[in-house]
């Protein structure tokens, strides 16, 4: 079974600054995907960024980038130039690359990020 750990329950950052959210995971799988989802106060889950485990290059999506360390099983999210709209709960999630129809997500507990004006 897979586990995803987000040990920081909450963080705060000044607007326009950079913040890094940590995530570690445990798995015996070799082929998998990792995701960061954002959950703003509206409660909808929005995909922020995705990383394929077989890719060494870290994924980037505008102001969002990841630091994927496969050997260390670490997957942190960096948010540059933080904006007030980034205030949300952020969930790290794991999905194994399944040969069958199963592609469920395993989530961490989430971290509450507050961006201060």
């Amino acid at each position: 079974a897979q586990t995803v750990t987000q040990s920081q329950p909450e963080m705060s950052v000044q607007e326009a600054e950079t913040v890094t959210l940590s995530c570690t995971y445990d798995t015996s799988e070799n082929n998998y995907y990792l995701f960061w989802y954002k959950q703003p106060p509206s409660r909808q889950m929005i995909l922020v960024i995705r990383q394929e485990a077989y890719k060494q290059q870290n994924a980037t999506e505008n102001r969002f980038s990841v630091n994927f360390q496969k050997a260390a099983k670490s997957f942190s999210l960096k948010i540059s130039d933080s904006q007030l709209g980034d205030t949300a709960m952020y969930f790290c999630a794991f999905m194994k690359r399944a040969t069958g129809a199963n592609s469920k997500l395993t989530f961490g507990k989430g971290i509450t990020l507050s961006v201060r004006p």
Partner: protein, 113 residues
Amino acid sequence: EPEVTQTPSHQVTQMGQEVILRCVPISNHLYFYWYRQILGQKVEFLVSFYNNEISEKSEIFDDQFSVERPDGSNFTLKIRSTKLEDSAMYFCASSLGQIYEAFFGQGTRLTVV
């Protein structure tokens, strides 16, 4: 942009009553999921559905729960006899395939009183 839609956004029900939560996945998606999030806790997988049958279910998904896709567009989650501990946010999600990310609906907040 296509999106997953869920109805209702909030449902209040009495303990022991049956509820049906509805979802319309993105039209060309093939894989469908239900997750739940008890307030303040992490999002938990309930069930995945593919090719008109359950492909995996968690230990949470006991005999009180069922899913179906009755008309090729809606995807429903039924809770037969609700308990207080079923109070949670329920998210429907769909994906195009196994290696594609899941897109989530806005959730249905279920309150059992």
